[in-house]
Assembly symmetry: C2
Homo-oligomer: 139 residues x 2
């Protein structure tokens, strides 16, 4: 299994040791903001991640404790991914990235996420978190 | 000059098109949180960025409008970098990354940044921004 090497003790460096690539944060986005939870769902996002990269990044996310994996109740050959608390707590990071990018890339801003954050950030973050927790509640 | 390709219109994808590597966000950290402004200062950070990578990433940051570059008043062969508004507005992103990582990588958390953010986020963000603006005020 690939080990993530730590370049320093800095929290930003630590975060970029894990998320410093083009794809890992997009899997977090799909899982946390769009409720996607399977390999095939991650694969069909607009950015068109390659299967080998997706496999690799999901393994990193498993290994680093951001997701857990279980077989789908209806299809034993399919895996479903669920975010851990460590992942769910990335929602404020994803939100600030979205708010920042909305200023410089306004065409792609998802209004249903941006508007509540602009109106009442604390409330919007709680609601995003609640939505994830409800979506991934253990059946 | 290298062009950043955009994979989709998503704001998170847009951000990771630029910052989806191990180094670019660390240059922003050095510039915005630690007040570093020269090639030699970026070079001596704990993560030990290589000169060719630093040159490449500074060019991307220039091209994408995150920094401006000028010759040092005291040394005409030295360049100084200054963050633009687009860069300064990344302070909330860097702050949320720091707060998130502090939970999972507590040893490296810079207390002088984390504590004010925990106490009063809005005030702390304003103070971080003010500090950057004062540091990089045109002489």
């Amino acid at each position: 299994m690939k080990t993530i090497s730590r370049r320093s003790e800095c929290p930003i460096s630590y975060t970029m040791d894990i998320f410093g690539d083009k794809w890992t944060m997009l899997i977090m986005r799909d899982l946390l903001l769009y409720g996607k939870d399977s390999f095939s769902e991650f694969l069909c996002s607009d950015e068109k991640i390659a299967t080998n990269i997706l496999t690799d990044r999901l393994n990193v996310l498993l290994q680093e404790g951001f997701v857990t994996k279980r077989t789908a109740p209806a299809n034993k050959s399919k895996f479903l991914y669920r975010p851990t608390e460590k992942a769910i707590e990335l929602i404020p990071v994803l939100s600030e990235i979205t708010l920042w990018a909305e200023k410089y890339n306004p065409d792609g801003a998802p209004e249903d996420i941006v508007e509540p954050l602009k109106k009442d950030r604390t409330k919007a973050l709680l609601e995003l978190k609640k939505k994830v927790e409800e979506r991934f509640r253990v059946e």
